[in-house]
Symmetry: D2
Subunit: 344 residues, 4 copies
């Protein structure tokens, strides 16, 4: 049994970790921390867990966490970096769902997150948590910086094209739509039902924190810096990200896009390349760890349109983190992750 600790269990990625792990046959949540909810039973805060999980929140404590095999951080940036060094020293493997270990370029990270990084040496050793790119490195990693939600959807959609160099890497446009749970569970006017329902808007057009992360990932795939415009939108739904990805074919007579994608993801348990002509819906992955992708070339023109959908809380966060844990602990990669999406 993998002994699991969770730091920051009260947010949406925290409760989603609990949902996934509650039915995981090889993992057991031993400790879950929250300063604000100390002593509260998890199931009192999240009644969907009643009967599934009999554990309460405790104040974060390094001793208790150090007794775990793996600790997940489901926290805002800045938290994981403050505790990860000691946990790693004591042999605990750390999976950070936050942003502390995603970006290799420390000054870039510090600029976008407006925060001084306290353990740059760990960033270097950390493995970027996107199994479709880094599976082997994940297997033996001590520290994972899990891919963000937008970055997961965007990278999985662009990888086949950029790795093969089929499209102009300088002209990438990622128009992304996210459900409101991406904003987290904090009390904020902007995420009220009355502010977000029956409406659609773009946000962060001048610059969003996921931009440098996506650029880093796409540059790795293209083997050179890329030019990317990234526009996120807030969509009136709870879960889901829909990435609509535009790029320009270098050789306009090229065909074989469908085959390219199918071949790239043939052995991936959680990437589903849909039949040519498909339009994946976010609800088809609601609650599941799957990324569904389709690729189009409208009017046979030289623009490629890739549609990529995930559940931002699962493949975009907690499901992916469990997938990574499975790889790290030599479990079947889909263990505990076989739920069928809820549809309708």
């Amino acid at each position: 049994m993998i002994k699991v600790g969770i730091v920051g269990g009260t947010g949406y990625t925290g409760v989603e970790l609990l949902r996934v792990l509650a039915n995981h046959p090889s993992a057991k949540v031993e400790v879950i921390t929250s300063r604000s909810e100390e002593g509260v039973l998890v199931a009192d805060m999240y009644p969907n867990l009643r009967g599934h999980l009999d554990i309460g929140f405790t104040v974060p404590d390094i001793e208790t966490l150090a007794a775990c095999d793996v600790v997940f951080f489901a926290t805002p940036h800045g938290v994981a970096m403050s505790m990860a060094p000691e946990l790693i020293d004591r042999g605990v493997r750390v999976i950070d769902l936050g942003a502390d270990f995603r970006i290799k370029d420390i000054p870039l990270w510090e600029k976008w997150y407006n925060h001084t990084h306290t353990c740059p040496e760990l960033v270097e050793k950390a493995v970027y948590g996107l199994p479709e790119v880094n599976r082997e490195a994940i297997r033996t990693a001590q520290l994972i910086g899990c891919a963000g939600c937008y970055p997961t959807a965007v990278q999985l959609g662009y990888l086949p094209l950029l790795e093969k160099g089929w499209v102009d890497h300088r002209r990438l446009i990622a128009d992304c739509k996210s459900g409101v749970s991406g904003a987290g569970r904090g009390a904020s006017v902007g995420a009220l039902l009355c502010e977000t329902s029956e409406s659609m808007k773009a946000y962060g057009v001048p610059g969003h924190r996921h931009l440098p992360e996506i650029r880093q990932g796409l540059a790795r795939a293209a083997n050179k810096p890329v030019g990317l415009t990234f526009v996120p939108h807030l969509t009136p739904m709870i879960r889901g990200i829909h990435a609509t990805l535009y790029s320009v074919l270098k050789d306009p007579v090229d065909s074989g896009l469908q085959e390219l994608f199918e071949a790239r993801y043939a052995n991936e348990p959680f990437v589903d390349v849909m039949p040519a002509g498909s339009h994946p819906e976010t609800r088809s992955v609601k609650g599941s760890n799957v990324c569904r992708i389709s690729v189009h070339r409208p009017q046979n023109d030289d623009t490629v349109v890739v549609l990529s959908v995930i559940d931002n809380l699962v493949k975009g966060a907690s499901g992916q983190a469990v997938q990574i844990m499975n790889i790290m602990f030599d479990r079947p990669e889909n263990e505990g992750l076989t739920q069928v999406a809820l549809m309708p």
Copy 2:
């Protein structure tokens, strides 16, 4: 392995059966029928099932169905009664999610459903499919008429009070709110997003088909006919029923309501009596087979208010049907039904 057939797999209760059964360790869907979708892969119609179920719709055929151990009917009323007799003759056990075998009083059924019943003799033998009431009879039944969605939520909420005779059986008011999936997947103006979103309305106030079924169930519990006003409402959400149940205590000084409910459901795997003072939310059971209940006595007056929530497609239909199958085939009652509700 229980060999399962499903008649009418294209509606919402059909696809929900498939979602639940896809991960059931002891059951395998061998055949699923649909006249209109013959030859279509189930996963092409419901992409959430891609990778989980590799089977296509076939035209209903008695021979193929007769090779199954159990056949579910996820069909409008009138279909099950036309095929059940022969299937039962051939030793197949039948679980009807529709209305054909729920009501014992044939003329009453014919009046409300405006349909001639073609096998009244089977109605007599059929067991009403509500495990919390009929578990033993279900175990050996050949034919089940599953409880409807509203009837499940309402009966589970009233049973403790009526069985013990604590409330006036002549003055029951069930104010129920349902998500739109209760209207099914048929193309109708009334269930369009633009007609149902951002709105709330009552419907069927003069009379709804679930009224006689609920009355029959409550009369059984009270051991006498009951007086019930039942008002269903359409709520702008996909899944969920919230039943708000009013009744009048006979002995106003009585206490022990909380204990009464806890004792009644102490051994029920799918009924969760919440702590005193709770307000269950439908989302706390979204996608799960649980019914959550709380009981109130506002202002210490003589009116009891019971709040009862289910997912209409799970405990109100397909999950309950699988729970019943588990009982019939001597499987652990919660096998395949341990999913945690999706929250948020």
Copy 3:
């Protein structure tokens, strides 16, 4: 031109006042206050008002407000009582959309609002702001305590029955469903889209602050204290209240319910008694000042079911306040209030 002041313009009832008044031909908003948004243009906060209203928020100041003909308080309880006395002394008429002047019984108010009332003498003089009950008193009133949202929907639905004494006043059940805007625009986890969308729940079953207000109004109609159970529910929509009102006919052979309601509201500009058999939808009043009502007697039994819908921000708050202003200043009662509901 009526010179209007608004205290507390940043909440939902505040912006709704602005929306209604922006097109009012006889009123002009001269001042709108908000401590937190001082100096901000109203249209920067509420872009729907761009091009309609060129005014900014100012800090509340008694001199500026005293120059108005009427001041609306769109504030939480406790604010109006602190400023109303001086404004009234200086001849300004005051319309409080909050709760400070609704309840005549001061100790009762103090118990439910957990607050000491600082001007009980004004409560006595204040007129309860429900035009269908108090039109004549409103005409000359100096101070109005506007009816709350639930109380408006519930009273309008019960009045005809109670005024005529047709139903048992001791057995009233008001099952009410409200959109989330009723919770206001404050940052709170409970009103996030991710917490309220795709879900339904009851709240405040042990006791809600609108209960004593409703009881007071119904007692006035019945001319004696009433027995009322009131259960509010949170519904996943922005606007709208649907009240489902149960009562028991004293004389079960009585007929004429439809006529009773039509006669009672024949001359009311904002109460629409729908044809017999109707089920009013909240969307049919979205953005309009209308209350639509239908009355049923299911199965010809002795239970009467009244369905009453309003837009909680219009007839339940700001529209009603403007209707009251029209009456006070001798304007046509529907001036500025003729918008057709937005449907779909």
Copy 4:
């Protein structure tokens, strides 16, 4: 008083015309037709109109329509072309909200609409109904082919850039998001709440009927054919279109984008250029005839991102049609169109 006829009043653009015209001081709806609803009162079908409009549906009849000053067609393509010729012969002015007269290239129209055009000579004479482009021609036109919903949002966003030639006309990407009302009021599974709520998807990526219309409009602005990729998305809300428009600056050092847009629309009553840095929300125009636009140049790169929002049923259909009627009949352009958007 302008005498108005409406053909096809039962759909969403029909009822929206009625909502807008109900309060129009200079127009009166004399006749509204529907074959399927003959004899039904409009207010019985659309209860929001109760008390506002006392008229019933009649079978389309050329004599009755010919007595009007103007006839709106709120019909699917193919209907207006069958009746417009005779109406125009008889001096009636015709405003088609459908697609029959939008596209000048008849074979192109016939290919995309899969329909033979029966009056190509009228197409030539028809004026494209987008006042911001064609105001003068509209003034004297006999026949208007109103701009579609997506085409309105996209053209208003691109016009300033293309008219001045600031961006590369060969590399335009319009990523558009629409509410479900764009699909109309027909009974279809695809527009059910249970199919569209809590989900987002692209559709028509290989080709959508609005593509040739948008291309025609943008080519007119650019004075040469344009290269455009257009991807529409279905969004879980009733009303609203959000167009996110990408283009590449020819001269990357250029500035003055904000001024360009402000100057272009300085005198437009229904185009609101928001302050630099804004992110318009569709709800800020819900129910109003306004198009709100903001322009961005993320990271000071050479990609321009224009955000353009409208209410698809108002500025994208019925409001725009009334704006056009006002122009044609020499009324103030905003008469009857001053409603403030409903927010929240």
